[in-house]
Structure formats: C-alpha cells, structure tokens
C-alpha cells in the first residue's frame, strides 16, 4: 500500500513538469501583448514599453522565461501580478475560499444525491421516483448560469433569504446559495446514478439470500445494498470534488466569490502568465491527489480491489 502511494506520488513529478510547460507555452502563445492592454485605448511610448517588457521578462525567448519561472518556484517565488501582489499570496487567499465552497457543495450533492437516489431506487416506479427523475432531468439540462441567476434573483433579491453576492471573507452562510447552485447539476446526476446502482444491486442474488436468511430491511439496505451500490457514486462525487476545487468560473463570477475560478479568469483576460501558470499547477496537483484518494477509497468499499507492492 505504502509502496503504491509512493509510486503514484513519484509519477506526479513528470506530470507536473509537463503540464506547467504546456500551460506556460499556451499562455506565451496567446496572441497580443498584455502590456499594451494595460494602457487601454491609449498607446504607450516605446521606451516605457521596452522597460516594462524587461521587468516581466517578456523580451526573453519562451524557453528562458519558462526556466526563470521554474527557478523562481523552487525558491518559493511564484512571481507577481501586475498589481504588485505576490502570486503566492493570491493562491493563499483564493484557495481556502474555493475549498470551503467545494466542500459545502460536495456535502450537499453527496448527501442529497445518495438519500434521494436510494429512496427512489427502492421505490422504483412510484410517484416519488418519477418526480425525482423529471426534476433531475430538468436540472441536468439547464446551463449553470441560468440556475445561478434564477437562484440569485429569487432567493437573493425577491425573498431576501440569502445575500445576492458573497460578502468579504466569504463566510459560510453567504456560500450556501452558491454551493447549492454549484451542486445542483451534480446532485441531479448523483440521484440518477445512485438510483440505477441501487436498483441493480437490489436485484442481485446476495440480497435475495440476505432476505432469505431473515435479515431485517434496516440491515440489508445500508449494509448490503447501499454499500455495494456506492462505487460508481463515489467515483463520480470524488471526480466532481476535483472539478469543484479548481474553481467554478461562472458561478464565482455571478456571486462575486473571491475564489480560484474568478481570479484565474481575470488573470487569463489580463495575460498575467505567472498567475495563470501557478494556479494551473496547483490545480493539477489537486487533481492528482484527488485521483489517488479515489483509487484508495475503492479498496475500502470493495475488499476485492487491493493495491499490492
């Protein structure tokens, strides 16, 4: 087990180097001069532009810029944004917000999805099941910004139950509405996934045997049916958690959440290479860790899956 984890972690090194290189290359290849955009519709004088280029190493060939950046990372220096803030500070400021939002959304979608899906699956074809299927289909087919705007309008402006946008410091109570919006589509997916999985498991021989042995429903449903139905559900939820952690540009924009997605979007628009690459690097890292955790979770849920060596 320990060997397996170590091997997976070592694999992460070339993946990280490769992705930073690719992202850096893509940011570099983005057409247009980010410094010119700093001046709006005004044209700066060439001497000033030249000096700014030198300061941000934009006058160097791509490969030199990349190694300068990489060298900085090893010294703990992620570079600075145009507004003079250290990128490491921006990372430290935005990731906690997004992590809070992601955990909240994950709890909502996992608890809601599994409970509703389980109930639906056990009562296949009944009114509750039909309603859950239709409602989840509606949510799956809606673009997230529609859900976000409607949620903001109804709960924020009309009913006044939640703040229309997230206030400073992104306290949990302000994040609940965005988290529901963010969770809504995955919640719908999880309901359907759990339902299908439960129906399948409930029809298997060992469940019949359990009933035959005279075990109570109270024991069969959680231990025999639910646990064995959870593998696809956990895979989906965990992957989704990875997606949530790297930020939700649209939702964060609409609710003005000072998290990763919004910041990265602005950095891309402004052409701030160091910010973009640093964010993406951390995101890749998160993805790798989440994937590893998912693989380890399998072993817990299904003893047949074991990692040796």
């Amino acid at each position: 087990m320990a060997g397996y984890i170590l091997r997976r972690l070592l694999q992460a090194i070339p993946v990280l180097l490769g992705t930073t290189f690719l992202i850096y290359f893509m940011v570099f290849a983005m057409p247009g001069d980010p410094l010119l955009a700093l001046f709006g519709d005004k044209t700066p004088n060439p001497a000033l532009l030249e000096r700014l280029r030198q300061e941000y190493h934009l006058d160097q060939p791509f490969i030199v810029q990349y190694f300068l950046y990489l060298g900085g990372i090893f010294r703990g220096d992620f570079g600075t944004s145009f507004s003079g803030e250290a990128v490491s500070d921006i990372l430290a400021r935005t990731f906690p917000v997004t992590i809070r939002l992601a955990i909240l959304a994950l709890i909502i979608e996992f608890v809601g999805g599994v409970l509703i899906g389980l109930y639906s699956g056990l009562r296949k074809g009944k009114l509750f099941d039909g309603t859950a299927l239709i409602v989840s289909l509606v949510f799956i087919s809606l673009p997230i910004f529609v859900i976000a705007f409607v949620g903001q309008y109804v709960f924020g402006i009309q009913l006044g139950w939640a703040r229309t946008t997230v206030s400073t410091g992104a306290p949990i109570q302000d994040l609940i509405l965005p988290a529901f919006v963010l969770a809504s589509i995955s919640l719908a997916q999880l309901i359907r996934l759990t339902r299908a999985s439960v129906i399948e498991t409930a029809g298997l021989d060992f469940v019949r045997t359990a009933y035959g042995k005279g075990l109570s429903r109270r024991r069969i449903i959680p231990v025999h049916i639910l646990r064995n139905s959870l593998i696809p559900v956990v895979t989906y939820a965990a992957t989704d958690f990875g997606v949530l952690l790297v930020g939700a540009t649209v939702t964060e924009g609409i609710f003005n959440v000072p998290g990763v997605g919004r910041t990265l979007y602005q950095a891309i628009i402004r052409g701030e290479g160091p910010t973009v690459v640093s964010f993406v690097t951390v995101m890749v890292l998160i993805y790798l860790v989440v994937n590893l955790v998912v693989d380890l979770l399998y072993g817990l849920l299904d003893p047949r899956i074991r990692y040796v060596k």
Binding site: K42, G156, T164, V250, I254, N256, R262
Partner: protein
C-alpha cells in the same frame, strides 16, 4: 479605456423575471442607523490593476480609489469645472511658465506636510523613465522630460516651502486644467522610502484615507474612512466609503437590487432594457466624457488623405444611422455624436460647421460614394475590427449593415479574440481594416480629445492622421492664455476633422448607474464616477 467583458446575463434575467412576476420587495439590509453622518457608503468598483500609486494608475478601478484618498492642486466639480483644492493659486502670463502656491498647513493623513516638495518630488518620480510609471506621459510637456532616457524635470523649481514654478517646453493653455488629474497628485515623504509598500497601503491627503494597514482586501474590497487632515472642498459627508470589487457588472447590479450596494456606476448591458423600471427615479443615465468612434487609417487603399478618401469617409459616416443604433442596440444609453469630444466638456458644441456629416443621409451618402467611384472604382469589403471580449459585436454588425444597405458594398465586422490582440495589431500597424477606437478623457478639456489622437505623430494617433492646418490650430489654441479663445481654436480644428474624418465619430457613452433606496445626494461627476463624498445615507 473602459472594458466591458461580460454579457451572459440577458437570458437568465429574462428567465428570472418570468419566474418572479409578483412582488417587488427588495431584500432587507440590516442597517438600522437613520440619517446619520457615520453611515458607510458601499460603492461598485473593480480590483485595481496596478499598485495604488497616482502616477501608475491609468484605469478606473484604481482611479476611483486614488481620487478619494488623494487631493491634487485642484479637483473637478460635478460639471467638470476645476476648483482649487491644495492650491492657493495657479498663475501664468504666457501659458508656459506657471507659478503655483500651495495652501499653508495642509498635511497628509500621517502628518507629513503637503508643500511644494511633495508635489515636485512626486512629479519627478512619475516622470523618470526608470520608474516605469504608466502615466509618465502626463509630464511630457514639462521642461526636461524625456521618453528615452532618465532625465529630471528641470522645469520644476522650488521658490519657497509652499511655492514652485513649472516651465513647459511650449505654451499649453490647458495645463492648469490638467492639474486635477491623479498623475499630478502629491506624495508624502514616507512614500519614497519604499514605493512598493506604499503602493499596497498608500497614505494620501484626500477626503478619505485607508481604514487600516490591511484596508485593501485584494479582489474583494477596500475600506476608506474620512480623513480629518483634509481641509479642502470635498469634505466627506458620510462615515466612510467601502468600494466593493466586482468581477462582473451583473453581480454588482444584483447587489444593488438586493440592497447590499448603495451606488452603482455601471449597469450591465443585460439590464439596459429593465433598469429604469427596476430603479425608477434612482436610475441615472447621462452623457459622460467617453467618445466612441472607428478609425480608418490613411494607409488603406481608397482611404488616403485625398479627394477620393475624403468622399468615401463622408459617405460612410452619412450611411450610419446613429439615432437608431443608440436607441435599439443601446436602449438610449449612448448619445449620438455631433463632434469629436463630449457634451460634458466645457467648449463642446453640437453645431460645428460640417457636423451634418454625422447625420444619417442615405441619398447624400450614395452620391458621395458614386463620386469617389468615379475617381477610382471600389472593390473588396469594408471591415471594422474590434475586440470580441468587449461586447462590441452588436453595434459593429449594425454599423456594417448600415453601410452595406446604404452604399450597396460588402461590409462586416472583423473580431479579434482579445483586447490585447486587437491593440497589438493596431499599435504595430499590421491591421489592414478600419478599427474600433474609444477615448475616455483624463481631464475635462477639449484638447485632451484632440491632441493625443489626431496631432501629427501624437502617441495615440493610431490612424497616422496628419494635417498641418489642424496641427497649427491646436498649437494656437494651446498658446493662448484665454480659455474661450483656446476653445474657439479647438472648435475650428474640429471643423477640419469633420472634413477629413480620420475617425468616424459614433456616439458618446453615457454613465448608466443607479443607487439604493437608503442613500441621497448621489451625483455623478464629469468622469462618470459618483461624487462619493457628497452621498448621505439614512
């Protein structure tokens, strides 16, 4: 300068309003205070793109903050007229040498004196090439300034503690008018010890100061409180100002409706259709100092500075139905242009000779285009380049269709994915089409709309326009000491532009905003920014 990036709200808002046909109670905010001067105003803003150093801030996000925490020699009142702020007097005989007296006993919020040195040192710092200040070009007219090498401003001379003189390279009648712009703000002594730290936590002399060392919460907001040391004409009538940074105008607008925001100076385009019914008499829509146009560079075939080129430019200008486009596409949030400046500027006129060329006239347009065809037949497509990330597609398409339908030629928009890409093609002159241009004034003067854009070899003369007669009139206007006389010269210079049409004027952007139910005395300044210090709340 102003960059609109968002525009996905429309569909959602339609969906939302359909869902909520009944009821219009705004969400309650929790302020309990009434009519007191300690209430804090919250206003819309955006994260400053640069450190908060006056000479290094050239966009509205940071500008809004700097104007609140600094005070220059003058400030601009709501009409854009300059009022003395830190200055006791600004005198000149020849519009070339100015004697500036600073009021006695003025201090920064940390106690440093506001004196001649605080201005001279700040300007020297801002002008020096190696300091890489984005606004350094504001000092180009002062003697000693150089774009190519580090060179001190020899034109600045200290007379005594409170008096200094400024000598310009040549006469500039509107130089005193410029002095209210943020590039000319003073800096305290402490700033020069560590400019980087100062940029994150600036100490100013304006009506407000930062609430604490950590008042600037990046990407979230900045908290300002009244500055007791300020004795000028912009005394804060409220208990403070919190500028909240929004990533999208839609989020800010939702907060205004939800009662979390007091003042909004940018209604999103998705709400243009309904903001007036949402806000009632709390909606604001008035012209601003923003001029929109598209430039046809002279290097394009058929558009040179000759008979044919002029005819074609006039034909294209007359083919555009500005009234209809501003009404239909912008819901009246733009005002059709009648010159090259802005109605909020002193000296603006809607009856310049030749301004007819900006009126829709299909028959005349066809006639002029035919005359040009007789000189040299037209072939190809007329294209207008724009940045696709700025919400320009709608009007560019509408203008193209106007041209297509009126003149019977192919016309279309030419989108560039990003603003940076479009500006790069424009700056390195690789662009081979007409292109969108806009100008937001830095200070309320006619010259600011003309000199930098159309004078020969001027910095933002992206179309490489050159007309010695125009240059001469600008020069004359600049060298006279009388403001009215200067404006007459600038108007005459504009009449030349109306014949040559180096850029086709389209419309003036309005400031479209609104405010909450709890605030009063909301007035928008000439530069589209609300006069925060006047706002009261109950």
């Amino acid at each position: 300068m102003k960059k609109r990036r968002y525009g996905i709200g429309a569909i959602a808002l339609i969906a939302a309003s359909a869902l909520a046909l009944s009821g219009c109670a705004a969400g309650g905010s929790d302020d309990s205070a009434s009519g007191d001067t300690s209430a804090v105003i919250t206003a819309n803003g955006s994260e400053p793109q640069n450190p908060l150093i006056p000479t290094n801030t050239n966009e509205t996000g940071g500008g809004k903050i700097l104007d609140s925490i600094f005070a220059g020699l003058e400030y601009y009142d709501a009409t854009g007229a300059p009022q003395l702020d830190m200055a006791e007097s600004i005198d000149t005989d020849d519009s070339q040498t100015f004697t500036i007296k600073v009021k006695a006993d003025q201090t920064f919020s940390n106690g440093d004196p506001v004196d001649a040195d605080s201005f001279i040192n700040a300007w020297q710092y801002g002008a020096l090439l190696s300091n890489e200040q984005l606004n350094s070009y504001f000092f180009e007219d002062i003697e000693g300034f150089s774009y190519d090498a580090d060179s001190p401003l020899t034109g600045l001379t200290k007379v005594d503690d409170l008096t200094f003189t400024v000598k310009l390279k040549e006469a500039r009648s509107d130089f005193p008018l410029r002095l209210g712009y943020s590039a000319f703000y003073p800096l305290p002594k402490s700033a020069f010890d560590d400019m980087e730290a100062f940029g994150q936590n600036p100490v100013g002399n304006g009506p407000y100061k930062l609430a604490s060392d950590t008042a600037w919460a990046h990407n979230e907001k900045i908290d300002l409180v009244p500055n007791e040391a300020y004795k000028g004409g912009r005394q804060a009538k409220n208990g403070g100002l919190t500028i909240v940074f929004y990533a999208s105008e839609d989020a800010a607008y939702a907060d205004l409706l939800g009662g979390n925001l007091d003042v909004l100076d940018a209604v999103p385009s998705s709400a243009f259709g309904n903001y007036e019914s949402d806000l009632g008499d709390r909606a604001v829509n008035q012209p601003a100092a923003i001029f929109q146009s598209f430039t046809i560079p002279e290097r394009l075939a058929h558009f040179g500075n000759d008979e044919e080129g002029k005819l074609r430019r006039q034909a294209i200008s007359m083919a555009i139905n500005r009234d209809e486009i501003t009404d239909v596409i912008f819901s009246g949030t733009r005002t059709p242009a009648s010159d090259f400046t802005s109605p909020v500027i002193d000296g603006w006129s809607d009856s310049l000779e030749g301004a007819d060329v900006l009126k829709f006239n299909a028959d005349e347009a066809k006639k002029l285009w035919a005359q040009a065809d007789a000189i040299s037949p037209w072939s190809g497509t007329f294209q207008i380049a724009y940045n696709a990330d700025g919400g320009h597609a709608d009007w560019v398409d509408a203008v193209s269709n106007n041209i297509k339908n009126t003149l019977g030629i192919d016309a279309s928009g030419a989108p560039y994915p990003t603003f940076a890409e479009a500006r790069t093609a424009i700056t390195d002159r690789s662009i081979q089409t007409a292109f969108r241009t806009g100008w937001q004034a830095d200070y309320p003067g006619l010259f600011n709309f003309l000199g930098p854009l159309y004078a020969t070899n001027a910095s933002s003369n992206d179309g490489d326009y050159s007309n010695p007669e125009f240059d001469k009139l600008l020069q004359e206007g600049s060298s006279t000491a009388d403001a009215d006389e200067a404006n007459t010269d600038f108007q005459k210079a504009q009449e030349i532009l109306l014949k040559d049409l180096p850029a086709i004027p389209l419309w003036y952007s309005n400031v479209v905003g609104g405010y909450g139910e709890n605030v009063q005395n909301v007035e928008f300044g000439w530069n589209s920014v609300p006069l925060f210090y006047e706002i009261t709340k109950n």
